[in-house]
Amino acid sequence: MSTEAVAVITFPGSNCDDDTVMALGRLGVPVVRRWYRDRDLGEARRVVLPGGFSYGDYLRSGALAARAPIMDAVEDGVATGRLTVLGICNGFQILCERGLLPGALRPNRDGRFRCTWEWVRVATAPLHWPEFRPGTRFRLPIAHREGAFTLPRAELDRLWQEGAVFLQYCGPDGAVGDEYNPNGSMDQVAGICRGRVMGLMPHPERAVAAYLGSEDGLRFLRAWLASEGE
C-alpha cells in the first residue's frame, strides 16, 4: 500500500468528505483536501470524490458538480493515466455525469431515500487492484435516493464483457438475486470500474469500526489504496 497522499475533493454540498478523510486517516494515509474551485490536484495521484449533495442536486445528482473546475483536473489526470480515482455515492454520480464512468444513477425504484446496511461482492476483479478478488464480500451501508445503476442493456452486457462490472449487491452468503437489490439497479450493480476509475454507491468510509456496524469499509479502502501499475 502506497503511503503517497490521497486528495479528497470537497464540493459545496459534500457531506461525507470529513468521514472520508477520517477513514483514510485511520489507514495512516496522508490526505490533502481539495476545494471544487481548485484547478489542480497538486502532487496527488489518487483522488476520492466523496458523497453528499454536491450542489444541492435539484437537477440530477452530480450534474453540476461534474462541471466544476476541479473536474477538469480529474479528467486530465485520467486521460494521461496518472490518476487513480474513487467516487463514492454522489462521487460516483459525478463520475457518471462527467462521462468518466458509463451509465447513470436513476432514482431508487420506490422513489425514496434509503439508508440501510447491505452486502456487496466483487463481481469482476478490476485490472489494477489485485486485492479485490472476485467473490470478496463487504458489508457496507448505502444512503441515497438516486442509486439505481442504469444503462441500455447492450451496453451493460458490454461492460460485463469488458470486466467493468465491479461490485454487485448480494446476500450475506454472496448470493446474487433481486431480493438483495436495494434500489433497482440493473443486474444489482453497486459499483463500476473502468481503467483506474472506480465508482460505487455504498459508503466504505462509514464502515470503519465494528462498533459502527462493520469494519469492511477499511478493508475496502485498503484494497483500493493497493492499486498497481502506476
Binding site: 461525507c16 468521514d19 425514496r112 431515500f113 439508508c115 444512503a143 437489490n181 462509514r206 462498533y211
Partner: protein
C-alpha cells in the same frame, strides 16, 4: 389595519400604545403583532416554564437562548433543543417538516455548535387516513437532514384521533461546540455592524408566527389551503452552505452575536439581539437583498424566508468574516449597526419608518401568570380499567400496534449514520454517539406518548421525563439536561390551559426529582381544530454523557440460559394509558409515576449493573407495549427464546403495564449470584420471570395455564409495517 389583522387583542394593542406613548404606525403594529404572538413571546407559557428547574452542575446556558448548552467533557459543550413545526407541516407536510429541521439546525449553529444529531418526534391521526401526511413529513425531515449531512439518529411516532387535524412535528437537534466558540445573541456591542448572510428575502412565510402558528385551524379545507403561502420553502443546499459559512465566521473570532432568522424573521432576530445585548439596532431595510424588488418594509421585516442568519461583527473584523463567508458562495451583507440605546430603528432609503424600544418588542408582551392553585396537580382521575382474562392474540396485536411496531419504515428514509458517530441508531430505544473530538460519547433519548397525558397531563409530563431519563441512565450514561417540546390546544380555553399547567407541572416535578435541569425547549399552542384539541403532548429530549460509547450496554440477549428479571415491578401494574388499553378502546388514566422512589431506584440499578462484568447482562426500559414488547425486542427475531412464568393475578397488567421505572434485565448464568447479592445490598427490587432457552419460542406459564408463540410470528407482527414489498425490476 387594526390589531386583529396582526393577531393582537385590544388589550395588547392598548399595552403597545402605552409602551410607545402613541399609536403605532402600521409597520410598527406588524412588528408587535409578530413578536407579541404566542409563538414568539411565550406569553401564555412563560410564567409556567419559569417554574422548571433550570440549574445544574453541567448547565452552561439555560433557557432563553437559541438552544440550551451543557458541559460534556472538558471544554467540549453540547448545545441541544427541541422545536416544533406542527402547523406548517399540516398545511404543507414536505416543506413544513423540512423547514422545521432547517430551523432547529440553525438554532444550534447560532450557538456556534456543529450539529451532530437530529431526532424527530411525530404524531399523526389514525391510519390509513394519515398515511399520506406521514409520508410527506418523513420525506421532508429526510430531505433536509440527509442533504445537510446531519444524521437523524432516532425518534418516535405515535397515532391518535386528536392528531388527525393537528399532526405534530417536533425535531431535536444537538451540536458540539468548544467553550471558546460558544456564541449567543447577547454579545452585540454598540458601534458594531449588523450583517445578513444567506438567502435573499422573499415574500414567503409572512405572518407565519402570528397567524399560522398562533391560531387554531378551521375545519374548512379552503382555510388551510389559504394558509399555504405562510409556509416557507426549505433549501438544504443553501442551509448547508450557511451552516458552514456561519461556523467559519465564528471561527475567525470576530463575531459578537449570532441569531438565526426563524419565526418573525428579521423582526425577531434584530429585536432579540438588541434586547439580549442590552443595546439597540438601526437597520437600513433598503440594503436587505430581496428576491422581489417590490417588497415593502413591512414584508421585509415579517418575511420568514429560510436559511438566513444575522451576524454582529465589529467594523475591524468585517473583511476577515466576509472572506470566510464568501468561500461558501455567500455574501456578508451590511444592513445596519448596533447603537447604544434601547431602540429598534428601521430606515427605508434614509427615512425612519419605524422606531420602537427593542425591550418593548422582545420583552414587553404582557404575560399570563400562573394561578396559585395551579401550582399543584389536580388529584389523579380515578379511571380504573377492568382486567379481563388474558388472550394470547393480544401479544402480536400489541407488537403490531402503530405505537409499538418497528419504525424502520420511517428511519430507513433518514441518513442516520453520516458523520460516523452513530454507535446506536434508530433501531434502539436511545441513540449512542461516539465523538471524534473527545473521549466520551453522547446518549440521546426522546420520549413523550400523548396516551399517557390524555386523562392526566401531570402523569404524562412526569412519565415522559422519567422515561427519557431512565433510558439514558440504563444506557450507563449521566443525564446532563432536558429539553421539552410542549404541544397543546388553544390556551384561551380554560380546560386546555389547565392541561398545559399540569403537563408542565409533571415535567417540573419529575425533572426536580431526578435533579436534571431543563435547559430549553419549545411550546406550541393552538394544536386544535374546531374546538377539538390534541392530547397534551410533552416531547422530552434527554442528553447524557456516555463514558464507554463504543461499548454500549447491550439490549439484546445473546444466548440461552440467561435469567430474565423485571426490575422495579409495580405493586399495582396499572394499564391506564397503555397501548393495550388504547387498543381496547378505553384508555383510562396513566398511573402517576412515584417520583419519590423512581429516580433512586433507576440510579441504584445502574450502579448495580455497572459493577457486573462486561457482557454479563443486557437491559431495556419498559415502554410502549409494556414488559411483553420489551421482552420480544430483547429476544430478537431468531432467538434465543424464553420460558417465563407469572402469577395468574394481574397477568394482563404485568405483561402490558407501562408504569414508569420498570426495566427488563437479562443476566448471564455466571453473573446471577453477583446480581442477586448486589440487588439485595442496594435494595433493588425485582421479579424473576424465567430464563432464555434455545428454541425461538416464547412460552408463558401463569398458574395452570400456558401459552406459547414463535418468535418468528411475533417479529412478523412487530415488523408488519416495515417492508414495503420490493417490486421486481423489469
Amino acid at each position: 389595519m387594526g390589531p386583529q389583522d396582526v393577531g393582537l387583542t385590544e388589550a395588547e394593542y392598548e399595552a403597545v400604545c402605552e409602551r410607545l406613548g402613541r399609536a403605532p404606525n402600521p409597520l410598527e403594529l406588524g412588528l408587535f403583532g409578530a413578536l407579541w404572538s404566542e409563538h414568539c413571546s411565550y406569553k401564555s407559557s412563560k410564567s409556567a416554564l419559569a417554574t422548571l428547574p433550570q440549574r445544574g452542575p453541567a448547565v452552561v446556558a439555560g433557557p432563553g437562548g437559541n438552544a440550551g448548552v451543557v458541559r460534556l467533557w472538558d471544554d467540549w459543550l453540547l448545545a441541544f433543543k427541541v422545536e416544533s413545526h406542527n402547523h406548517p407541516s399540516y398545511v404543507e407536510p414536505v416543506q413544513g417538516a423540512a423547514t422545521g429541521v432547517g430551523g432547529i439546525i440553525r438554532d444550534v449553529v447560532a450557538m456556534g455548535a456543529r450539529p451532530i444529531a437530529l431526532m424527530d418526534s411525530l404524531r399523526f391521526g389514525p391510519e390509513p387516513a394519515s398515511e399520506r401526511l406521514l409520508d410527506g413529513v418523513v420525506e421532508g425531515v429526510g430531505n433536509y437532514g440527509n442533504s445537510i449531512g446531519v444524521p437523524t439518529v432516532g425518534g418516535e411516532v405515535y397515532f391518535g384521533a386528536g392528531y388527525a387535524g393537528n399532526p405534530l412535528v417536533n425535531v431535536l437537534c444537538a451540536g458540539l461546540v468548544r467553550e471558546a466558540s460558544l456564541m449567543s445573541s447577547a454579545g452585540a456591542r454598540s458601534g458594531s455592524r449588523v450583517y445578513l448572510v444567506g438567502q435573499p428575502t422573499g415574500r414567503d412565510g409572512i405572518h407565519g408566527a402570528s397567524l399560522l402558528a398562533s391560531q387554531d385551524f378551521s375545519e374548512h379545507p379552503e382555510a388551510v389551503e389559504s394558509m399555504r403561502p405562510t409556509v416557507q420553502v426549505g433549501d438544504p443546499f443553501t442551509g448547508k452552505r450557511l451552516m458552514e459559512a456561519t461556523l467559519a465566521a465564528i471561527a475567525t473570532g470576530w463575531v459578537q452575536a449570532v441569531q438565526d432568522l426563524g419565526a418573525a424573521g428579521l423582526t425577531s432576530a434584530s429585536a432579540e439581539v438588541a434586547y439580549r445585548s442590552h443595546c439597540g439596532m438601526e437597520l437600513d431595510l433598503d440594503r436587505v437583498p430581496l428576491r422581489e424588488a417590490s417588497m415593502t418594509p413591512y414584508e421585509i421585516m415579517l418575511s420568514e424566508t429560510q436559511e438566513r442568519m444575522l451576524l454582529v461583527v465589529p467594523e475591524a473584523g468585517a473583511a476577515v468574516v466576509a472572506d470566510a463567508v464568501r468561500r461558501w458562495d455567500l455574501e456578508l451583507i451590511p444592513v445596519g449597526r448596533v447603537v447604544d440605546e434601547d431602540i429598534l430603528r428601521l430606515r427605508w432609503h434614509g427615512a425612519v419608518v419605524a422606531e420602537v424600544a427593542a425591550s418593548a418588542l422582545a420583552g414587553g408582551c404582557p404575560v399570563r401568570t400562573v394561578p396559585e392553585d395551579a401550582r399543584w396537580p389536580r388529584p389523579a382521575p380515578a379511571l380504573a380499567l377492568e382486567e379481563p382474562a388474558f388472550q394470547p392474540e393480544w401479544l402480536p396485536q400489541v407488537l403490531a400496534h402503530p405505537d409499538v411496531r418497528d419504525r424502520e419504515y420511517i428511519y430507513r428514509r433518514y441518513d442516520w449514520m453520516i458523520q460516523t458517530r452513530t454507535v446506536w441508531g434508530p433501531d434502539h430505544d436511545v441513540a449512542v454517539l461516539c465523538l471524534h473530538e473527545a473521549p466520551v460519547g453522547v446518549t440521546l433519548a426522546l420520549s413523550g406518548p400523548g396516551r399517557w397525558a390524555a386523562a392526566d397531563a401531570w402523569a404524562g409530563g412526569a412519565g415522559a421525563v422519567a422515561r427519557a431519563i431512565g433510558a439514558v441512565l440504563l444506557q450507563d450514561s449521566e443525564p446532563l439536561g432536558l429539553t421539552d417540546g410542549i404541544n397543546c390546544g388553544n390556551p384561551n380555553r380554560p380546560a386546555v390551559w389547565r392541561e398545559f399547567l399540569d403537563l408542565v407541572g409533571g415535567i417540573r416535578d419529575a425533572a426536580t426529582a431526578f435533579a436534571v435541569p431543563v435547559t430549553g425547549g419549545n411550546v406550541s399552542f393552538h394544536n386544535e381544530t374546531e374546538g377539538r384539541a390534541i392530547w397534551p403532548t410533552a416531547v422530552i429530549g434527554a442528553v447524557g454523557r456516555h463514558d464507554h460509547p463504543t461499548r454500549p450496554w447491550p439490549d439484546r440477549v445473546p444466548e440461552a440460559g440467561w435469567r430474565l428479571v423485571l426490575v422495579n415491578p409495580p405493586t399495582v401494574p396499572g394499564l391506564g394509558g397503555s397501548v393495550w388499553a388504547y387498543m381496547r378502546g378505553n384508555l383510562g388514566a396513566y398511573p402517576r409515576p412515584d417520583l419519590t422512589v423512581i429516580p433512586q431506584r433507576l440510579r441504584r440499578l445502574r450502579a448495580l449493573l455497572a459493577r457486573l462484568p462486561e457482557g454479563a447482562f443486557c437491559v431495556r426500559t419498559v415502554g410502549d407495549g409494556g414488559l411483553a414488547a420489551a421482552l420480544v425486542k430483547m429476544l430478537g427475531p431468531e432467538g434465543p427464546g424464553a420460558a417465563i412464568a407469572l402469577e395468574p393475578q394481574a397477568l394482563v397488567g404485568r405483561l402490558f403495564s407501562e408504569v414508569a421505572g420498570q426495566a427488563l434485565v437479562a443476566i448471564r448464568p455466571g453473573a446471577w449470584r453477583a446480581f442477586q447479592a448486589g440487588a439485595e445490598a442496594a435494595a433493588v427490587a425485582y421479579l424473576e420471570l424465567g430464563e432464555t432457552w434455545p428454541d425461538p419460542v416464547l412460552s408463558l406459564q401463569a398458574g395452570t395455564q400456558g401459552w406459547s408463540w414463535s418468535l418468528a410470528a411475533l417479529w412478523a407482527a412487530y415488523r408488519s409495517r416495515v417492508q414495503a414489498p420490493r417490486p421486481s425490476h423489469s
